[in-house]
């Protein structure tokens, strides 16, 4: 589904990703962990096509297509979804109107018929059951005046409606209290399916208590330095990122060799 090879990317002239390689298959849940500044959010931004990120080397193939050649909206239509670390408030744009416009724009790009307002409403009602999100939020402007937890739940709700093939959750757990975290995790679990993959970018292990990953990768200094199953997250929790930092030089010198 997703094949990242030797990805190098820079922001404002600074190299952040330095040869990242990762393969994600349908149905898999991958967790990307790492200390601050390791390049976790850069990975999410590069994959979703945010401006200001320059890819200097490597390739990303998504569903057989060169992902890096696509515009952000084309990536969305191809089935990529990014749950933002900081969802943006958009005053004056109604949440439901926006979501219907987004879904129909994706369907149009894929050559599928657009949903009329009745069909869309029916879909929204189904998805509301998955995410405990109140009707009232749907009638407000996108994320405007939402609490931190409401914003994150709104991201997962959008994901539920848009039904992507690959969802990237960028620090979706950050800033959430334990109840909000559980609700978000519940939403993610409800959306797990054999055709859908997840890439969870997180600093802490606690989200992984509620959404169990198939693979855990440790990102340090722009590369994946360690991969394993969910027990790797527990090891990290026990030893801290210093443990990774200790292991890093070996890899770095290897790369330089």
């Amino acid at each position: 589904m997703l094949k990242i090879e030797n990805l190098h990317a820079r922001v404002e002239g600074k190299d952040i990703l330095k040869g990242l390689t990762l393969t994600v298959n349908p149905g898999e849940v991958h967790a990307i962990m790492g200390p601050n500044g390791a390049g976790k959010s850069t990975l999410g931004n590069v994959l979703s096509g945010r401006e200001g990120y320059e890819v200097t080397e490597g390739s990303v193939i998504f569903e057989g297509r060169d992902l890096l050649a696509l515009e952000p909206e084309e990536r969305a239509a191809a089935g990529l979804f990014l749950a933002f670390q900081y969802p943006v408030e958009i005053p004056g744009v109604n949440n439901t109107y926006f979501l219907r416009a987004a879904l129909n724009a994706q369907r149009k790009q894929r050559g599928e018929p657009e949903l009329d307002s009745m069909q869309f409403l029916k879909l929204v009602r189904e998805k509301l059951k998955i995410m405990q999100i109140s009707d009232e939020l749907l009638h407000r402007a996108v994320n405007e005046g939402f609490s931190g937890g409401e914003k994150k739940r709104n991201e997962i709700f959008q994901m539920a409606v848009l039904e992507p093939k690959l969802a990237i959750l960028d620090e979706t757990d950050s800033g959430l209290d334990i109840d909000a975290l559980k609700q978000v995790a519940q939403g993610v679990n409800a959306l797990r399916s054999p055709d859908r993959a997840f890439l969870m970018i997180t600093h802490y292990q606690r989200l992984l208590d509620y959404v169990e990953p198939d693979f855990v990768h440790v990102l340090a200094d722009g590369r994946i330095v360690e991969s394993g199953d969910k027990t790797l997250a527990l090891k990290l929790e026990e030893h801290g990122y210093a443990w990774v930092a200790d292991r890093k030089p070996a890899h770095t010198s290897e790369a330089r060799a």
Partner: protein, 437 residues
């Protein structure tokens, strides 16, 4: 002796204006007023950018053009009536083509009781005397050049009166259509509108073109609200993209009267609107809300001047400007709270959005207060679209142009939310969207 200005084609085109036969010609006072205004205009010419009111709007190129004096063929020019229709507006209608009244396109049968609605050309041929005060005005300021020109040459327009206490249920549609003629021409329209005490009127002013043309249109309007009158005035300006349109409106508000304006400026190459409002009676209230949207090389200049002259008067002005490509917008909002207008409340906000690096909007809010216990606030901003919001929308699948349009309409939304005619409000929103490149 001041040096005589170099002869410019614009002025040269007015050589035969003095001998032009206009509706009402032959009434000595009207002939005199027209002649004096023409002489004053020819003497002063078009204002240049040294005049404060014209600082950002250069008329040099206009001065180099020559316009025919009106359109003799206007009564027979074919105009598609469907182009004039506005959703949600199905009341009486008065239509002018190239500045000339067209009975065949208008809808004047079965006027509601209390409403008098006539073309100025008819009134002038029948009995111009009641309009003597309005039409013999002299414009003293050289910056009022277009009002002078209009006073010299206007032969048609709208004469509208609402009787005291009358409530006109259906919106009255005033439609000004530009259509191609044998060459570029100038038309001049004069409107006189009066709402009697306690009356109510819903007015829709509509500028539209049936096909491309490069005409100059000027429109001078007086609107008087007697005590307690209520006016809803919606204005959709969507004239031909190469045309020039200059409007000058005076609004007089009596005690406890309330005027609410919603303006959408979309069309024209060079467009200027001067709105002078005087809140003359205690507790008068004026709300002006407007949006101007520019693309290509459009230039749209709005000059708002509001004078609070009585106790506890209120004005609220909310304007948004959007400029794309090489569009140039100008907004001046000047509020004066005169001595004695204690307890007045004045608010003015003008926010602008530049969608291209080559677009420009100059905004200037001004506030002068000479009274006590006044609440006043004004603010103006010029900014760009929020890149984060744009990316957020695109990441959800909205193509760039659609995301941009969504954010732009959201930026303008607050302005039309208070327009009571919901169907017309939607049409405004659609027209705005259609105008974005």
């Amino acid at each position: 002796m001041s040096p005589s200005p170099a002869p410019v084609p614009f002025i040269d085109g007015l050589r035969d204006a003095a001998s032009l036969r206009l509706p009402g010609s032959g009434h000595a006072w009207l002939d005199a007023a027209r002649r004096e205004n023409l002489e004053a205009f020819v003497a002063s010419g078009l204002p240049d950018t040294r005049a404060e009111a014209w600082k950002y709007t250069a008329l040099r190129a206009l001065g180099q053009r020559r316009f025919a004096l009106g359109d003799p063929g206007a009564v027979t020019r074919a105009v598609d009536p469907t182009a004039l229709a506005l959703p949600g507006v199905d009341g009486p209608r008065l239509v002018f083509v190239n500045g000339v009244f067209r009975a065949d396109l208008s809808r004047l049968n079965t006027l509601p009781s209390g409403l008098t609605l006539q073309p100025l050309s008819q009134v002038l041929e029948q009995d111009p005397e009641p309009l003597r005060f309005a039409l013999s005005r002299h414009y003293r300021e050289a910056s009022d050049a277009f009002a002078r020109l209009n006073a010299a040459l206007a032969g048609d327009g709208v004469v509208l009166r609402v009787a005291a206490g009358a409530r006109i249920g259906k919106p009255v549609h005033l439609c000004f259509v530009g259509t191609p003629a044998e060459g570029d021409l100038a038309w001049h329209v004069r409107n006189v509108i009066e709402l009697g005490a306690g009356s109510e009127l819903d007015l829709v002013e509509h500028h539209v073109s049936s096909a491309g043309h490069k005409h100059l249109g000027t429109l001078v309007g007086d609107i008087v609200l007697q005590d307690g009158a209520k006016l809803q005035h919606a204005l959709l300006q969507n004239t031909a993209e190469d045309s020039t349109l200059v409007r000058h409106s005076s609004l007089h508000l009596g005690a406890k009267s309330h005027a609410a304006m919603h303006v959408l400026e979309l069309g024209g190459a060079l467009v200027r609107h001067d709105l002078h409002a005087q809140l003359r009676g205690d507790e008068a209230r004026l709300d002006t809300r407007g949006v101007f949207v520019l693309r290509g090389r459009q230039h749209i200049d709005t000059q708002l001047s509001i004078r609070h002259q009585a106790l506890n008067t209120a004005s609220e002005s909310t304007w948004r400007g959007v400029a794309d490509e090489r569009g140039r917008g100008v907004f001046r909002g000047a509020i004066v709270v005169a001595e004695g207008a204690d307890g007045s409340d004045a608010n003015l906000s003008n926010k602008n959005l530049l969608l291209s690096a080559l677009a420009e909007i100059d905004t200037k809010p001004e506030l002068e207060i000479y009274a006590d216990e006044v609440k006043a606030a004004h603010g103006a901003t010029v900014g760009q679209l929020d890149e984060r919001a744009l990316f957020y929308l695109r990441s959800r699948g909205l193509p760039h142009a659609e995301a941009r349009a969504l954010l732009t309409t959201a930026f303008c939304r607050a302005v039309f939310a208070s327009l009571p005619n919901e169907t017309l409000r939607e049409h405004f929103s659609d027209a705005l969207l259609a105008h974005l490149p």
